[in-house]
């Protein structure tokens, strides 16, 4: 329900604990291995459980979740720094959330290839054409076959 808090002890008869502003933040990631179309992959805080993920997505984002499976990814402790000390990459928890009622999700392409061709008759286009002409003029005669200018008569 929140990270780094001391939950009050529950005894039978107590009212249900409610958290209104949670400390948890989920990260939607692109799956490394191909997942079925109804599965969404998240990186979640280590303190979160499957039920927490389901309630989080259901109450904050109104997402209907059918199933959540979690695993903890161990971060390596093998790397060493310039002082030969071991450096630990942090562990993290991964949640695979399956959406219900036949909904699907496809991770979007965050860095689409942009078309860098400039518009015709714009400043960039004229500049580009001018630069190309200049470079063409600077080049040596291709019939010399790569032999330099100063060599010869």
């Amino acid at each position: 329900m929140a990270t780094k808090v001391l939950y009050p002890l529950y005894q039978r008869g107590n009212p249900q604990l409610r958290i209104f502003r949670t400390n948890f933040f989920l990260t939607l990631v692109r799956p490394g291995k191909e997942q079925p179309p109804d599965t969404v992959q998240f990186r979640i805080p280590m303190e979160m459980s499957k039920f927490d993920v389901k309630n989080y997505l259901g109450s904050i984002y109104n997402v209907q979740v059918a199933d959540v499976r979690t695993r903890i990814q161990y971060g390596t402790n093998r790397k060493r720094n310039h002082l030969n000390q071991k450096v630990k990459t942090p562990d993290y928890k991964v949640a695979y959330v399956q959406l219900s009622k036949g909904q699907t999700f496809e991770f979007p392409d965050l860095f689409p290839q942009k078309d860098h061709t400039p518009k015709p008759d714009s400043m960039e286009d004229i500049q580009r054409k001018f630069m190309e002409d200049e470079q063409q003029r600077q080049k040596v005669d291709p019939r010399r076959g790569g032999v330099t200018d100063w060599f010869g008569l």
């Binding site: 191909e34 997942q35 079925p36 109804d38 599965t39 499976r69 219900s100």
Partner: protein, 449 residues
């Protein structure tokens, strides 16, 4: 040998001729005249005396090459084809243990039925086959090889109905029981009821269906099946890059089953064009999620191979409390209720019919010559779903599946209620249609009887 020496002579002559031909004026003359090698007398007299001089050239058995691997596989298949008995064949097919996916018949995985259809190459058709829909309880018809039931006379039907009600009341009202343990409610209240109901059905209907007189009713039997489908490339390790078949194992424990000595007739012919498609899933089974284990590969129908009752008739499954429809409705998963029943039916019946076929000596490289048919009823005491399965092909591994047009077929119904509630001393809202369908299921038999 005679042939050897004559060939030797011919080759020497040919060599001589070639040398002559190359060097001198004689060569031009011989080329112009087109000199031919003489045909020997031995060959002219008996052409069948040609025995090969050298043994056939085959790939090595022990080399680390693809040809050697293929040769080892071929030698293994030859051993299986030539196995003297079914037990030996099964032993050869299941002796090697490797990591395999364990397919649970009662899963909590979402949309498991599509995955299971892909693993078992099954097409699902909703509704039951024509045999059950055409013939009502009141018709007598003969369609080919199947004889539909004569109407179960009303007093018999009433007797059966009263037996069912008594069994229900016995478990839910008359008998004082402790509160059931967690997730054991259905087993606590309905397992003994189903015991009594199935026994009553078989004994009462044995009069109409003589096959049931020779049948064997098992309680809590074990049904296992092991098969290979698809291939995968090993991603890491010392075998990285090599191609491995994907292995599956089903270990099923139905509530009860009826085994018969004679095979049930087919619902549709072997080369029937199924209107439904088998879903193809390109992802690996780990995404379902399905987990791998390595242990003994079992193929078992409920008894050993030498038993007289080696063909299956009907299975009865009691669903687990985790799949109970109340729980799924509360978790907002109503559409998964039917999905789980279908997955259960497809996996259990495929395992049972596949094992029956293997008991007759068929395997993935010797495909079935006649379809194997079984039925099942999946229930939680109140709701009943009926499924029929026809196994048309066992050839599911990559080598045999590339040109195999046959598919296995599963027919199924939605859940039907048997009764509404059990109030003190009374079963309210008993549905006769469900019981009639149950009776029809059990009366299915070949024409010869």
């Amino acid at each position: 040998s005679g042939y050897g020496t004559s060939v030797g002579k011919i080759s020497k002559m040919a060599a001589f001729c070639v040398r002559c031909v190359g060097n001198s004026k004689l060569s031009n003359y011989m080329q112009l005249k087109r000199v031919r090698i003489i045909h020997t007398e031995v060959l002219a007299q008996n052409p069948t005396a040609l025995s090969p001089l050298y043994p056939p050239i085959v790939p090595s058995l022990t080399a680390r090459s693809k040809a050697a691997k293929q040769r080892r596989r071929d030698e293994y298949y030859k051993k299986v084809y030539a196995a003297p008995s079914v037990q030996e064949k099964l032993r050869l097919l299941t002796c090697l243990q490797r990591l395999k996916y364990v397919v649970n018949t009662q899963t909590s995985a979402i949309n498991a039925d599509r995955w299971y259809q892909h693993f078992t190459k099954t097409a699902y058709l909703s509704g039951l086959p024509e045999h059950f829909t055409n013939s009502g309880m009141d018709q007598v018809a003969e369609t080919g090889d199947i004889v539909t039931s004569k109407a179960l006379s009303d007093p018999d039907f009433e007797e059966l109905k009263s037996l069912f009600c008594t069994a229900l009341l016995q478990e839910n009202f008359y008998m004082r029981k402790r509160t059931p343990f967690l997730y054991r409610t259905i087993e606590h209240y309905f397992s003994p009821f189903l015991n009594n109901a199935v026994s009553a059905l078989t004994t009462l209907l044995a009069a109409q269906n003589p096959l049931l007189k020779e049948s064997s009713l098992d309680f809590k039997p074990q049904v296992n099946f092991y098969w290979m489908r698809g291939e995968r490339v090993v991603p890491r390790g010392h075998r990285k890059g090599s191609v491995d078949p994907i292995r599956f194992q089903i270990d099923d424990h139905p509530h009860s089953q009826i085994r018969v000595p004679k095979q049930l007739p087919e619902f549709v012919p072997l080369d029937y064009k199924v209107p439904a498609e088998v879903p193809v899933i390109k992802l690996e089974p780990d995404r379902l999620p399905l987990f791998k284990r390595q242990y003994d590969n079992h193929i078992f129908i409920g008894t050993k191979v030498t038993d007289p009752c080696v063909y299956g008739h009907t299975q009865f499954h009691l669903i687990s409390d985790r799949m109970h429809r109340g729980r799924l409705t509360k978790a907002n998963l109503e559409d998964q209720i039917e999905v789980r029943l279908r997955a259960n039916a497809i996996s259990s019946l495929f395992a049972w019919t596949g094992a029956q076929a293997m008991y007759q000596g068929f395997w993935s490289h010797e495909d079935v010559t006649r379809p194997f048919v079984s039925q099942c009823v999946i229930t939680d005491g109140k709701y009943y779903s009926f499924f029929c399965y026809q196994l048309n092909t066992l050839a599911l591994c990559v080598e045999t599946d590339c040109n195999n047009p046959r598919k296995n077929i599963c027919w199924g119904t939605e859940s039907m209620q048997l009764y509404d509630t059990v109030e003190e001393n009374d079963v309210k809202g008993f549905n006769d249609d469900t019981l009639k369908l149950l009776v029809q299921f059990l009366l299915y038999r070949p024409k010869a009887l």
